[in-house]
Each structure stands twice: as C-alpha cells, then as structure tokens.
Symmetry: C2
Subunit: 174 residues, 2 copies
C-alpha cells in the first residue's frame, strides 16, 4: 500500500524541487473542498429525502425517476433507468416494480425495438407528479432561502467548473 | 397536497406585487443549484467509495469512522458515533461490530462514565489507517487535479456560505 501511495504521490503534478509543505498545503485544500462538498450535499439531501418519504410515501430514487419520466413522455428504456439510478445503489427492478404496483408507472415494449422494455408514467403517475413537483421545489427554495441569489449563481458556475474538471479525470460519466 | 403547496409558496418571501415570472425564475435557480450540488457530490463520492471498498476492503462509513477515531485518541462514545454516521443511513452497530471483528477498533467503558461505551482504534487499526489515509488523500487530489487552486478556494468559501445559510433554515445540524 505504501508503494502505491508513493507512486500516486509522484504522479500528482508536483515538481521534484518543490518544498515539502507545498504538497501538504495542496492536500489540505483538496480535502477541505471534499469535506465541504459532501457535507453540504448530505445535509441538503437528508432533509429533502425525509420529506419525500414522509409526505409522498415513495423514496428519493423513485421521486427522481418520476421526475425524469415526466420530462420524457416517450418513456425511458429499462437499461437507461438502471444507468441513471446507479449512483444511489438502489435495486432498479424493485424501484420500478413498486411504482408499477402503485399504478404510477407502466412497462411497455419500445416502439422502435419490440424486445426493449420502456418505462412510462401512467396518467395517474403524471398527475401525482404534477402535485408533488411544486411541493418539492418549495422545499429546495426554503432550504436555500438564506443564500443571496448572486451567491447561488456563483455556486452554480463554480460547481459546473468542478463537474467539468472531474469529468476530465473520471472514466465514469457524471 | 395542492393546499400545502399553496401555503408554502406564500411563506417563501415573495412580495405580493411581484410578477409571476420572478418566483419561477428563482425556482429555476434554486433547482439548478440543487441538481449541480448533488451531481458533483455523488460523482465524487461514487468514485472514491468504490476505491475504498476495492482497495481497503471496508466500506465508506467504516473508513469515515476510522478517520474520526484517528483524530480522537480518547475514543468516541457509541451514541456520538450513531449521531455522526446517521446521514449515511448505515446500521451503526453492524459497522462497529465488523471493524471490531477485524481487530481495527475496540469497545471500552468510558473513563468518566462506566456505563457508557467508547469506541477506539486499536494499535492495528491506527497503523492500518496511517497506511490508508495518504492513499485516500491521493484519490481526492487526483479527482480535483484539473481544477485551479483559486477555484478550489472560491468553492470552499462558497460552500461554507451555503452551509451557514442552510444551518439557518435547518433544524438538524450539519
């Protein structure tokens, strides 16, 4: 493990003649950013996640899927659903099965490829989401209500920069 | 649900005479920030989470707990461990049991209160963490390596502002 660490350490653009404090300073800045980013996201998500469960009776993954289906009237292929929800580590089949049991989504054969399964919102699902979406948006507004709009705009721009920077180093897509 | 939405909408500091587009514009900005924040955090976390599991053989919650224990030589009370790891939704007892089985942490009675249980790193756990920490730090450095330091500093400052702003609206602490 020590040799892996040493190899990686060399790989991270630090000139050979740089003073030792430079690497440690850089490490501190990066770890600080890492901790802040995760703490903010977790705090925000935790609050909204609990409210989704309590007030809508579905979980966050299911709400996010309904939101994506609401923007995709032609439906989303099952394989694509799996790809999009992979970050949450949820069992995609269970997520879709449960929404189907509630009559909120339906599985259909794809128009273009009869072997592929496509998920769509049912009319009941569409109207349920139309009621949930503005409530959900209000929670987000409330959560960020103490931050000035100028700082929100700055943060969006900065996070876009971070996303692009991570894309350049990540093999997995954002 | 519609009436809840209407009530909340009124509560969000929008002057009565404001044009309708103002609320919708604000909603768009807030939702954009929400999506960016979660997408960045998830992408970053997913990559590192997988590496922790693959290379250290423990999960992210266990790594984070060992990191906290490394900074707390006197140990952390079981109740405090539960509070700190609650955001991940993990089963705290299972997390600690598994680390204890591997000989990385030990349960002890608290010095100040014999009824309270305190978790500490064992010497083996401390030396294992000393090997993991620099490797983990290199992953973070690699992840953020394409972002200029000036933007990292800006982001840290902005996220601190967001954290403070959310604290002002959240009853749960960050």
């Amino acid at each position: 493990m020590a040799s892996t660490s040493a190899r990686r350490r060399t790989a991270v653009s630090k000139p050979d003649d740089a003073p030792a404090w430079l690497a440690s300073d850089r490490e501190r800045l990066d770890l600080k950013l890492w901790v802040r980013l995760l703490a903010c996201a977790h705090a925000a998500e935790q609050r909204v996640k609990t409210r989704i469960k309590d007030q809508f009776g579905i979980n966050q993954t299911q709400f996010n899927l309904m939101s994506q289906l609401d923007r995709s009237p032609a439906g989303i292929r099952m394989g694509e659903v799996a790809r999009r929800t992979v970050v949450t580590g949820s069992n995609v089949t269970a997520v879709v099965d449960d929404l189907e049991r509630r009559g909120l989504v339906a599985r259909q054969n794809a128009d273009t490829d009869r072997r592929a399964t496509v998920i769509k919102l049912t009319p009941k699902g569409r109207s349920a989401f139309a009621e949930m979406a503005p409530v959900h948006a209000e929670w987000i507004l409330e959560l960020f209500s103490e931050l000035p709009d100028s700082e929100k705009r700055n943060l969006v721009r900065q996070l876009d920069g971070l996303k692009a920077a991570m894309r350049a180093t990540l093999s997995t897509s954002l």
